[in-house]
Subunit: 133 residues, 2 copies
DNA sequence: ATTGATGCAAAGGCTTTGCACCACA
DNA sequence: TGTGGTGCAAAGCCTTTGCATCAAT
């Protein structure tokens, strides 16, 4: 996993990766911290931020910028689309095929070099729907 | 414009709307502040934030959450896609037709109520391309 | 033993907010 | 003239960072 790099697999880093891999809820750094401290009470929020960033930089996890104020993290690094609840902020995966033709079309009308694209749906999650009615 | 509401059209609010309407650069609140203070030296950053938020809440301007740390604003309220330079953060419009079939497809695979979707392209802008080579 | 990682706390960057005064309607 | 808005400064929220110590290699 981290072979060949200067990275060490500390207990903290291992636990962070393990816990993130367990969920599909796209937790924020603080969400992670709250879960992690139950199993490792002395872990610090700074360590959580540092490790999520390092894992992201090494392509091991994904860092999501799906609107809202906080960044979110995902152990699933396969490109996929997301939906965010405009009421509670919850983020879920949308399992449809990436529309690569979006990039083809965009290339025709921009002088940017296109690297990738993101699609984010906005909506209301089942829980908030229930709460509203 | 603000008819029927309790909103007042102050000199500050008017100038903010006027300057935002002039550009297509999707400025941040601070970008706006830097431009505005040249014409109205005593305007405060707080006023800029407050007014951009109020104009957004009233559907007069758009507030963009296109990744990066700062929010951006756009006087063009017609839904459209954007591209962001991963190097300098610049944001530009992508003039292609919205792909409404994305929402149709997404509806089939989620239990969220879908309200809208956003597409963000990531790439490198012409200026940064030049600077790289 | 070397040096990357941790915990803690302080600092940073962006945004919001409390308050007394101001100026639209 | 009433009340929403402004300028200013302080506070808030999320994230990063400096530093002494710890621990993985």
């Amino acid at each position: 996993m981290l072979t060949g790099s200067k990275l060490r697999m500390t207990k903290q880093r291992q636990l962070i990766l393990e816990e993130l891999s367990k969920v599909t809820s796209h937790p924020t750094a603080d969400d992670m911290y709250q879960v992690l401290r139950k199993k490792m009470p002395r872990i610090s929020l700074g360590t959580v931020y540092r490790n999520l960033e390092i894992l992201y930089e090494n392509g091991i996890i994904q860092k999501l910028d799906v609107g809202g104020t906080q960044k979110r993290f995902d152990a699933n690094i396969i490109p996929h689309y997301h939906i965010r609840c405009t009421i509670c902020g919850r983020v879920a995966d949308i399992h449809i095929e990436p529309h690569m033709e979006l990039e083809t079309e965009a290339k025709k009308v921009t002088d940017f070099d296109i690297i990738q694209h993101r699609v984010e749906f906005l909506g209301i999650c089942p829980q908030c729907k229930k709460r509203q009615s």
